[in-house]
Symmetry: C2
Subunit: 138 residues, 2 copies
DNA sequence: ATTGACGTTGACGTTAACGTCAATTATCAT
DNA sequence: ATGATAATTGACGTTAACGTCAACGTCAAT
């Protein structure tokens, strides 16, 4: 037998749970929790979880979803849109509907964010001005 | 004495808690909770809460903050930036710092949202195309 | 005086998204 | 073989943001 080391053949692109945790600045607990919620389905090497770049990608999407303010179940729905789920015509219509609903929410959110940003920028300007004014010129 | 009806003089611009609740599609419980968290400070007519347009404005800001994904304490900090809080130079620097931190978060969030929107729009296009394709032309 | 409709204050319940142990198991270097 | 190190599975704790329910006050209309 001339295998390099038994089972491990080629793909070196795997991650342990703590590697991912470190990379994304979260805890292993959180990652396991996402799995509990069916947002991740890592492989197993015996009992240990093995994450592939596919899983890493999904984790990235999960975290982006969180930053956007989505709940984990929201994120679950969105992730479902990405995998080979091209079902019946009815399913497609449903998916399309949900996507559009979410788009509406996102656009509203974007609008809100733009407003808050504008106000905060304005506030910062005013404070800066005020501070310049009251600066005792040396 | 020729008063119109004792204490009530001119300002007709007040709201009851359930009026506000109805207008904004939330519950009175929520509004009272915001008060508990010092996000609102309505007047009182005896024991009953009386909201002025100022309070209504703050409530609007609170709800926008929520849509953006802020926690109530985040929102509290942001509201604090709006009232006559023009304190010492030190305070101003602090406020300015916090505002800029929050701006950074908001810009990141805006970025994330734009990405998700783009992907979802793309997904919708693909689904639409697919559905047109499989449409049996009548 | 009574009946609703609305308002008030507790106080406890609930859900989401993990944190925080504890008890085990596997791995790896010494 | 032996710790040290990292991983696993429960199980219970925690925080935020209200929901829900009970018990009570109030005010206008009947």
């Amino acid at each position: 037998m001339s295998g390099p080391k038994e089972a491990q053949q080629a793909a070196e692109l795997t991650y342990t749970i703590s590697e991912l945790a470190a990379e994304f600045g979260i805890t292993a607990r959180a990652i396991r929790f996402y799995e509990d919620q069916d947002l991740l389905q890592p492989e197993r090497d015996g009992i240990k979880r093995v994450y592939l770049r596919r899983d890493r990608g999904r984790l990235k999407l999960i975290l982006r979803g969180k930053r956007v303010g989505f709940s984990l179940s929201d994120i679950g729905e969105m992730l479902a849109l990405y995998d080979p789920n091209n079902e019946s015509r009815e399913q497609l219509k449903l998916t399309l509907g949900k996507s559009r609903d979410r788009l509406a929410i996102l656009r509203r959110q974007r609008q809100d964010i733009d407003e808050v940003i504008a106000e905060l920028e304005d506030g910062c300007r005013q404070i800066s001005d005020l501070m310049e004014t009251q600066t005792e010129t040396s």
